[in-house]
Each structure stands twice: as C-alpha cells, then as structure tokens.
C-alpha cells in the first residue's frame, strides 16, 4: 500500500499531459472573445484575487466536509481488513494511497488550471504560456490543498459539525476579503498567485506556503483516519468505479450521495404533521408525491442547487461578454441541477416493482411526477437569472434577457436530466447491438452519453441568439426560445410514450424479455 510506483506516476503524468495539452490546444484555438479594455484589466486586478480566493475557499470547504465524513482516501476493501487491521503503523500504510491521490489531484488540477489560465490570457492579455503555467501551478495547489485539508480533518477525526464550521470560516473569511477588496486569508493570497502573469505580488507566496503546509500535514496525519470510515468508503468506492465503468450515471449519483452521507431528511421542511385524512383520489397525487420527495432534500442538496443556479448565471454572463465556451459550463450546471431535482422521478424509475404495480401507464406516472421537479427547476433558473443580473450590474437589457432565459434554460436542464434518468443505464448486451457494426455501436454509445447534456445546453441557445443581435436582444432570445421549448416538449412526449414505442418495436422484432 505504501509503495510509490514511479512508472505509474510517470504514466499518470503522461496521460494528464496528453489530455491537458489537447484541451489547451483546443481552447486556445476555439475560444472566441477579445481582449478586454484596460479598465477591466484593472478591475480584475483589484477584485480578481479575492474572487479566485472565494472559489479556492469553496474547494477547501468541499475538502473539509469530505474529511468530516472520513474522506478523501479510498482504500481497497481487502486492504482495510488485512492491512489496516494488522499491527502495521497506519500512517505508513496510508502514505502510499495519500501520495497517489495527491499526485492524481495535482495532475488534474494542473490541467484544469492551465485551461483556465489560457482562457484568462485571451481576455486579460499577456503571454498564454505564462498564464498556462501559472494556472497549472495554482490549480494543482488548490486541489491538493483541498485534499490535504480533508486528510487533516479525517486524520484528526474531527466531527462533521466541526469540519462544517471550519468550511464556513474559510468561506466567510474569503467573503470578507472580497467585500473589502483586501487579501488577508490564505485563500485570497493564493488567488494573488493566480494573477502573477499580470502583476507579481510576493504575498502570493504566502498562499502557496499555506497550500504546501496543508498537503504536508495531510500526509503526516492521514494515518489517523477511522477504519470504520475506510471500510464504508472502500465498499462504496468499489461500486462507484463499477458504475462509472458501465456509464450508469444514476448509480454513480446514488453512490456518491452515500459516500457523502447525503440522505433524505427524516422530517420534511414543510407539512410534516399534516394528516392525509380527507384527501383521496388520483387528483394531484403525482404532484404531491413529487413535493414530498423534494421537501425531504437535505440542506447540502438545496445549497448545491442554489450554487449550481448561480454558477449557470455567472457562466451565462461570461458567455454574454464573449467567452462562448462558458455556455457549456452553464448547460452542464443546469444539467447537474436537473439530475438533483428529478429525484422523485428517478426514485420511481429505480423501482419498477412499484412503478409497474400502479394501475397507470408507466409513462404517465413519470411525466406526472415531473411537475414538481419542473417547479423546483424554475426556482433554480430564477437564482441563475438573479445572479446574472447582479453580476452584469443590473440594467433593463440584462434583466430582460435573463427573464426570457429562465424558462428555456431551466426546462432544458430538466429535460436533459429526464432523458438521462428515463433511459437508464445502457444495456450490457442488447439484441439490437448485435445487428450493428462495432463503429455504429460506438457512435450509439457516444450519442446516448452526450445527448442528455446537449439537450440541457440547448436551453442556453436564446442567450447566444440575444448576443448576436445587440440592438434587440430580448426579442431574439424570445424567438430562440420556441425551438428550445419544442425540444423540451419532445422529451416529455418521448418519456410518456417510450414504453409503448419499445413494446411495439420488440413485438415487431418478435422478442421477449424482462421489462426495462
């Protein structure tokens, strides 16, 4: 467990370099957008480090919370039983997995940071290789600092509440820095390092030192991680890897929630003790069932939905200002939010034994269950619109475009999630695949995987339409809303009649089997 395989490390670096290099190359070539005005560069220098610091604090908060639940290390189940329960020093036993995780985090953090750095160079000016290297450095440090912080918390076995409180302190400190435009927290100092290509500030070294300290402490303290947490995570992580291999997104979501110990609330936020007496019949039963599920969302999921809405709004503003690829970020944020709010539908899809026992067509139950998530998704869309208007500094034009976008963007996010949830995981062995050439099966798999996020991203098309006609942005956005809503309606019709279509197809093929 504690051995560090040099060849494996080199291989990871090699893969990361290829992936990162390709991403950099693509983005450097494709990103639209022009260099911003000098005033905007000045503004970025004044507020940028603190804004980046807040994002770093968010990453750190995620790490601290993960540590509170026994993360981030995942040890194989046999290693838990045979190695961690042996008389071997656990610090020594866990050093290898800790270093492996840090290497992996650094590679991916560096890749993501380099991409962001190159993107920044296109907007803020400067040499893109310098931005790329600086972004890679900060990205690697941020991810590893978060992992290190998590290892410190789990190694010291701090309680979840304590870890949560530390996360709040980190966020609040960075928030205050942003409000006062002063870098005092280690996260804001690291944010200064992110802007080194524009302005060298030695205090950024303080942020770097903080990140390195978190990593070193994490490695030293990792041996204190609870065996109970290690065993739980070992079992779940094994299943999670298997689900990822099968591209079973729903299982990935459920297992990730179990890893994060994110369960429904024992009592709903509202209406816990209302008697069901005198309420009968099928009217509104699916609407009500949807809300019963949504009202049991844990606080973390509600916060995540708000943050995803805000992220979509912020990415929308970036798109509006010329960074076109951010439209994908906005679409993905809404897709992930959709996957969260669609939980009442997913609960039913997961349980065909119950679903097929009701005296209603499966499709009509699923579409009926979508009503409450649609209302919740609208709320996410409103959060996004409000965030966008706030970032854009208000104004009638921004308000009008944001208001038009709420319905198509949020409904497309839900539609993407609906496709993903209702279609379920890909079949391991499909009769129809046997008739297709391997290339066609590969294309089918790719389309199946990419289609849901593409549907979600289509909801942002009105924004691109609005951007292309600066004189009348709102009316262009309204026109572009129509095809998006048609797409959303098409998804609803597909969900409603999918079973009948499959049944008819199967009967035509003369096959029989289990119900999907």
């Amino acid at each position: 467990m504690s051995e560090v395989d040099v060849m494996e490390a080199l291989y990871h670096a090699y893969v990361a370099a290829i992936v990162g290099g390709l991403a950099l190359w693509w983005i450097a070539l494709r990103v639209g957008g022009h260099e911003v005005a000098r005033a905007s560069v000045h503004s970025a220098l004044v507020h940028g480090p603190e804004m980046v610091g807040l994002a770093i604090a968010a990453a750190l908060a995620i790490g601290l919370r993960s540590g509170g639940r026994g993360g981030p290390l995942v040890v194989e189940a046999p290693d838990v039983r045979l190695v961690l329960l042996s008389p071997l020093d656990r610090g020594v036993a866990l050093r290898g997995p800790a270093l492996r995780l840090l290497r992996f985090g650094a590679a991916w953090g560096a890749g993501a940071g380099a991409v962001v750095g190159v993107l920044a160079s296109r907007r803020l000016g400067g040499h893109w290789p310098v931005w790329g290297v600086s972004g890679a450095l900060v990205g690697a440090l941020v991810v590893d600092a978060a992992l290190g912080a998590a290892m410190v918390v789990s190694g010291l076995r701090l309680r979840r509440q304590m870890a949560g409180a530390l996360a709040l302190v980190a966020l609040a400190w960075s928030g205050v820095d942003l409000a006062l435009a002063r870098a005092t927290s280690p996260m804001s100092l690291l944010g200064q390092a992110a802007f080194w290509p524009l302005r060298w500030s030695p205090s950024g070294l303080g942020g770097v030192a903080f990140a390195v300290l978190a990593v070193v402490l994490g490695v030293v303290l990792a041996g204190g991680t609870s065996v109970e947490a290690s065993e739980r995570r070992a079992s779940l992580a094994g299943q999670l890897r298997f689900a990822v291999t099968l591209r079973d997104l729903r299982s990935v979501i459920l297992l990730r929630r179990q890893l994060a110990q994110e369960s429904p609330r024992e009592r709903p936020w509202l209406g816990a003790h209302r008697s069901p007496r005198h309420r009968s019949g099928r009217r509104f039963v699916l609407w009500r069932r949807g809300w019963q599920g949504l009202l049991r969302f844990p606080l973390t999921r509600l916060v995540r939905l708000v943050l995803l809405g805000a992220a979509a709004g912020a990415a929308g503003v970036g798109t509006w200002r010329g960074t076109t690829p951010l439209v994908l970020a906005a679409g993905l944020a809404l897709y992930v939010a959709g996957l969260d709010v669609i939980e009442p539908v997913a609960e039913s899809v997961d349980r065909p034994t119950l679903l097929d026992a009701y005296p209603l067509e499966r499709g009509s139950v699923l579409v009926g269950l979508l009503a409450a998530p649609a209302a919740a998704m609208l709320a996410v869309g409103i959060v996004g619109a409000a965030t966008a208007v706030a970032i854009a500094g208000g104004g009638t034009k921004a308000l009008a475009v944001a208001a038009v976008l709420v319905i198509p963007a949020s409904m497309a996010g839900l539609a993407g999630a609906t496709v993903s949830t209702v279609q379920g995981p890909p079949a391991l062995f499909s009769d129809s695949d046997l008739l297709l050439p391997p290339e066609a099966v590969g294309a089918k798999v790719a389309i199946r995987t990419l289609w849901p996020p593409l549907v979600a991203t289509a909801g942002m098309l009105p924004l691109l339409a609005a951007r292309s006609t600066p004189a009348l942005p709102a009316s262009s956005a309204v026109s572009a809303t129509i095809p998006v809503l048609l797409l959303v309606g098409g998804v609803a019709i597909w969900a409603r009649h999918r079973e009948a279509i499959h049944r008819a197809f199967k009967e035509a093929m003369g096959g029989a089997g289990t119900k999907a």
Binding site: E266, S280, A512
Partner: protein, 229 residues
C-alpha cells in the same frame, strides 16, 4: 367481499421463461380458482419467483400467458386486481410509511383507506413509526411496511413471495392472520414459501423443481419435506 368472478383468479397457459439456454420455467399450465389459498413450494431456483413475477406483470414470459381474472398480467386492469408482496421490500427512500400508504391508495383510487391503514399499522407494530422513513428501518420492518402497502388497497388476488424472511414471531403471526382474513373475505392468496408449517394449512400446494411442476394437490396428501428436498 365480492361475488366470485366467472374467470379463475389466476390462469397460466403454456407459460415458459428462459434466459438464453437456461430454462427457468418449463411449460406451466395452472388454474387457481377464486378464493383458493395456494402455496408454492420448491427449493431455491425452482422457478417460484419467476412464476410470481410473471403473474405480477414484472417479467415477460418467453411464451404463454398469465391472466388475472381474465385480464392479461401486467395490464392496467390486472394491476388493479392483483396485489404483490415481493421477496425483497421495495420502498422509496424519500417517503415516510404514511406517505407510501397515501401514495399507493390514491394511485389505486381507494376511498376510506385511513382506518384500514391505521389498523394494519397497529397489527404489524408500525403505528409509532408511521411518520418515519422506511429507508432507515431494519429488514423486518421494511418487510412489514411492504406488507401494509399490499394489504391496504383493495385486491382480488394477493401474491406473496417468501413473506416470512426477516419477520419476528409476532409479525409473522399478524401477517398470517391478515392473509387468512383476506382469504375469508373472498380473495385468492398465493404464497411462495419454504415454511412447511404454513404450507400445511393451505387449500392447495404446488411444488416446483427445476422449473417444472412435481406436485399439485392438497398438502395433507404428501410428505411436504420431500417437495423441497
């Protein structure tokens, strides 16, 4: 409860199920008259659950058909007529026991279900946990919740797969009494079990071995342990 229908409660004709080369159920012809208490016996893998799932409409036959009071298994009418307790409790993670009951009853358009629900919860010892999430229950309590959901709505045929697994003795006794009550009310009760003492009380016993019927008759006329040996 209701007058006996002209059609048998359950009828399987030339029913088979295969998974590739594995035959889970040989051609099966079975007619269960209304009001009968039938026990399905057989060792693990004999085909009991396969038959039950096809009757419940959860599994499509490779060939043949199952009818529930003349309605094709899995059709909307058949779903209204048949209530099923699976071998493994299947419950939502985000609904309380009471919310499960309400959702089930309203989907089945039941009226005046509250008193019946209260009685079932009381008899199975769940009254004090009605507001709780079954996802946090033990296996036995989840099984009891599953039983309540099956019994709280009207049905003509009750199919139960391995009902006693995980149940404590009072829960087992309560469930046996509730099934007896349902049968006395005119319902047809089909139970797959390994509990020979329960099988001995049934009207009829059908034993399966390797997907084929090896005995069909009264339980008193055969050495029951030999059927699952």
């Amino acid at each position: 409860m209701t007058p006996a229908p002209a059609e048998p409660a359950l009828r399987a004709a030339d029913l088979t199920k295969s998974y590739g080369s594995l035959v889970a159920l040989e051609p099966l012809d079975l007619t269960v008259p209304a009001g009968q208490r039938l026990v399905l016996l057989g060792h693990n893998g004999s085909g009991k659950t396969t038959f039950i799932k096809m009757a419940a409409g959860l599994l499509e036959p490779t060939s043949g058909t199952v009818w529930v009071e003349g309605e094709r298994a899995g059709s909307l009418d058949a779903r209204s007529l048949l209530s099923y307790v699976p071998d493994e409790p299947v419950l939502y993670d985000d609904l309380s026991v009471l919310e499960h009951i309400e959702f089930t009853c309203r989907l089945h358009d039941c009226e005046d279900w509250e008193d019946r629900a209260a009685r079932l919860l009381e008899e199975l010892g769940l009254s004090s946990r009605a507001e709780d999430l079954p996802s946090r229950f033990s296996r036995g309590m989840r099984q009891k919740t599953s039983i309540v959901l099956a019994l709280v709505r009207p049905f003509a045929v009750l199919i139960v797969d391995e009902p006693f697994v995980g149940l404590d003795p009072p829960g087992r006794e309560a469930f046996v009494n509730l099934m007896e009550e349902a049968a006395e009310g005119g319902a047809t009760v089909v139970v797959a079990t390994h509990q020979l003492d329960y099988a001995a009380t049934a009207d009829r016993c059908v034993a399966l071995r390797d997907g084929a019927v090896v005995y069909d008759g009264a339980p008193g006329k055969v050495e029951l342990p030999s059927l699952i040996g």
